[in-house]
Amino acid sequence: MSFDGYKDEINEGDTVILYLTITQVYSIKAQPKIVNKKGNEVENVFQTPYGALKCGELIGKSYGTKISLSKGWGYVLQPTPELWTITLPHRTQIIYTPDISMIILQLELCPGSMVIESGTGSGSLSHALIRAVKPHGHVYTFDFHEVRAKTATEEFKDHGLASYVTVGHRDVCEDGFGEHMTGKADAVFLDLPHPWLAIPHALTSIKTTGGRLCSFSPCIEQVQKSCLMLLKLGFQDIQTLEVLQTQYSVQQRSIPVINLDFVKAEKDGSEPEKKEREMMKTVTGLPPASSPGHTGYLTFATLPPVWCRSLQISLNEEDILTSVD
């Protein structure tokens, strides 16, 4: 229950972020017991490289404080969508913060927005969507994988977010987002293998006053099909882009310096001895030796309000559609 609003103290059942080092960050549950694979209740112990942590002992501690481990220490932080994204259990491929940030901004979400998402997957994006639209907005998220839909529902409840999100179990390409979503959404987000099949359903779900759409696709062929569909349906401002983040490791480096001045004069014994090499200090930010070079293409588009959709369709230079309501 630690995702809704700022908290000072860890309560039983909270999801807590355990920060050890920049690359060792975990999410754990502040509860003394868990049920193991055999169905028995056992002590909830989390093994870290710096010793075991009895999770029950976190209850009552303050977020943002240091905790001791047998061979070191760590810090406990309250989860944010960003910390959750880097620590969540993967049930699918997930979307990461650089893309998520762009999605939220370009979908023009703010408190009060109604947003549709499909598929739910591991809920990485969903958490950020919920934060952006609460308290009076809502996220409607759909996945056709029954277990994923169910797990996500439980997870949102467990995180104290249930009132801001509704998980639907359905195939959105086949069946759309449902009658009850017609004309309801300010924004639609798609992370699907065949997004172009869901775009016509997005059209009916977006408010008559217009809205935004985003599709995330790893492959350019998916993007091409989606863009054609968007043009055909009268979307405008279609923009495809990619964002890649590089993290730098800031370091002070010592670099050997060679002095070559002495070569111009004859040897007179004042030459530097070979051993005592001069060093120069420099501060640098080093990119990682290798890092992901591609996540996915983000395609954004605006659905104009009903009063100018037909004009937009003709502007998009495509065949006039016969049945768009």
């Binding site: 960050v25 404080t65 762009m102 901004l105 370009q106 590089t246 104009p304 309000p305 230079e317």
Partner: protein, 425 residues
């Protein structure tokens, strides 16, 4: 057609609108009898009043004044590529001479055409029929030529409502220094890493992003919510363009408290009793904000606050009240600290970190990497900041067309973002 019950989709006098002509956008305030200069066009905008957002208008020559254009709402437009019938095209460009004088029309001829009637169709048609090489070009190249010319003489504009997305992209495209070099991806990440949402008190120091940063944070805080923003700036008045263009409801706009950096900190450290609850009435402050920081008067002075300064000399001035409101919040500490500065960030962060609560995040943007490296070492030397990360983004746009998909030819470079979490020590 839809009934616009609350008029929120109707273009009204006083509205800030974004005028778009093809890829080009400009912010405009709608007034009675206002004109807009859009590239080489001087446009009389009266006819947009009372129409709806997203409507498209055609620029038409004003009778009697050929340099002036008026606009007319349209339900249909003609695209040059569609309507022109191209009779002949070459298979490749082997027959096209390099430097040939290929266009028969002179600049004067074209201007005349444009003054008679602005119609990209007619002009492009004329250009084609007077081009000696057009028929030699490949179909692809013909289309490209038409698109290019059409763009130049395109006669349609569209009116949109300002949004953070539209303004962020517009300011950056017009001139990156308008936003201190903050590109749309940078902006998006500053907001997420700072965990800006509907609640909490947020602290921003911004040395000039045309009002984009405070507008974006206020937008994410939302209307009818509890969050609050203290916006510290270095000048007498803060830059406001982006903020006023958003036309937030008063209730929401008032939760962004604009204060001068020096003056609010002086108030905090030297006039504690002015904002601590016990002595509301006492005010013997003789600080003159204008003297405090002669450095810079950032554009866009706000007439209302000037007026407030003049009247009722015995009463506290509005900026003093704002300082006190801000100090009260600072006393309770804030839930995020964002610094988007031209200045070196270390001293600013040093001065503002004490106001940040533990278990909260800090986000600093700089166009340059080196000052953030300095900041990195400073933060490392403190023991209360963890997860210090320095990053930047590679971003590029794509042209997506059948058989012609490729990255856009031009790209640019954003700035650097440093993030970290403060601990409770």
């Amino acid at each position: 057609m839809e009934i616009d019950s609350d008029m929120s989709n109707t273009i009204k006098v006083g509205d800030f609108v974004v005028v778009q002509r093809q890829g080009y956008t400009k912010l405009h305030k709608v007034k009675a009898h206002s004109r807009l200069i859009l590239g080489s066009f001087n446009i009389e905008m009266d006819n947009v009043i009372g129409e709806k957002y997203y409507d498209t208008f055609q620029m038409k020559n004003m009778p009697g004044n050929r340099k002036l254009y008026t606009v007319e709402k349209v339900e249909q437009t003609n695209s040059a590529v569609e309507s022109l019938s191209i009779e002949q095209s070459g298979a490749d460009n082997r027959h096209i001479p390099n430097n040939a004088e290929s266009q028969g029309l002179t600049k004067d001829d074209i201007d005349k055409l444009k003054d008679e009637e602005l119609s990209s169709n007619i002009i492009v048609e004329q250009l084609i029929s007077n081009s000696k090489t057009f028929s030699l070009r490949t179909g692809y190249s013909q289309e490209k030529y038409i698109k290019k010319k059409e763009k130049k003489y395109f006669e349609y504009i569209q009116i949109k409502k300002p949004s953070i997305r539209i303004m962020g992209q517009m300011f950056y495209r017009q001139d990156p220094t308008k936003t201190l070099g903050i590109r749309i991806d940078d902006l998006s990440q500053i907001l997420t890493y700072a965990n800006i949402h509907q609640e909490g008190n947020h602290l921003l120091y911004d040395s000039g992003t045309s009002g984009l940063m405070p507008a974006a944070i206020t937008n994410s805080i939302g209307s009818q919510t509890t969050g609050c923003l203290i916006h510290m700036h270095p000048g007498n008045e803060c830059q406001k363009n982006g903020f006023v263009a958003m036309q937030f409801p008063i209730e929401q706009a008032e939760r962004c408290i604009n204060v001068n950096l020096y003056s609010v900190l002086r108030c905090y450290y030297q006039q504690k009793d002015s904002f601590s609850d016990s002595s509301e009435t006492k005010s013997d402050t003789n600080t003159d904000q204008n003297l405090e920081n002669g450095a810079k008067n950032n554009e866009e002075s706000e007439p209302t606050s000037k007026k407030a300064r003049l009247e009722e000399p015995n009463q506290k001035k509005s900026w003093q009240l704002d300082n006190e409101r801000a100090c009260k919040i600072l006393d309770q500490k804030v839930d995020s600290l964002i610094v988007t500065a031209k200045e070196h960030p270390v001293n600013i962060v040093k001065a503002l970190l004490p106001f940040l609560r533990g278990n909260r995040s800090l986000v600093v943007f700089s166009l340059l990497k080196e000052p953030l490296q300095d900041l990195y070492f400073y933060l490392k030397s403190r023991v209360d900041i963890v997860s210090i990360k320095l990053s930047n983004n590679f971003m590029r746009d794509y042209q997506v067309l059948p058989d012609r998909t490729h990255p856009e030819v031009n790209m640019n470079y954003g700035g650097y973002i440093l993030t970290g979490f403060k601990l409770i020590c």
